[in-house]
Amino acid sequence: AQSVAQPEDQVNVAEGNPLTVKCTYSVSGNPYLFWYVQYPNRGLQFLLKYITGDNLVKGSYGFEAEFNKSQTSFHLKKPSALVSDSALYFCAVRASNQGGKLIFGQGTELSVKP
């Protein structure tokens, strides 16, 4: 069965520093990988996705993610964190040979301090 793991419940970063939010996945077949962000009392907002091709994917608000097939990882990164990036981040995976259901990780709370 497909699964997603976000090993850190919380990540704390100082404003201006680079940030990384980790995600590993397990699927059989080719994965389609997504990152979403959730602000308090709001729905999930799409950030970026990996479908095929270039391993480095760029998305909204300066975020990017690197697909690593050998490590089955899809870590979210940003070169310089902003206080406004503080939110809950979800990694999700979809596999074409497993019904196509989007499976989410449990989420990582990102806190950026001034």
Partner: protein, 115 residues
């Protein structure tokens, strides 16, 4: 472009009562999803529609949950009777179609509290 609309935003009921949630997807989106998000967890798919047909309802507790999308646009999700463990945020999402590479767009959710 208008986003996914959901109502109500909040609902408090007592156990064994019934409740219904409404969702209006982004115009032109053929695929509609209902998710349940329990506090501290990622969303879990309950049901997926393609136009007015059900694609996947394998994780829908069918003894108490039902959903419909009669005209292939709006959708309602109903719980009857509600249990304490149904307390969660119910998220509606839509996508252009059901191709796996399409991102899903989420509504603000309905926060359900069952007392």
């Amino acid at each position: 472009e208008a986003g996914v609309a959901q109502s109500p935003r909040y609902k408090i009921i007592e156990k064994r009562q019934s409740v219904a949630f409404w969702c209006n997807p982004i115009s032109g989106h053929a695929t509609l999803y209902w998710y349940q998000q329990i506090l501290g967890q990622g969303p879990k798919l309950l049901i997926q529609f393609q136009n007015n047909g059900v694609v996947d309802d394998s994780q829908l507790p069918k003894d108490r949950f039902s959903a419909e999308r009669l005209k292939g646009v709006d959708s309602t999700l109903k719980i009857q009777p509600a249990k304490l463990e149904d307390s969660a945020v119910y998220l509606c999402a839509s996508s252009l179609d059901q191709d796996f590479y399409n991102e899903q767009f989420f509504g603000p959710g309905t926060r359900l509290t069952v007392l």
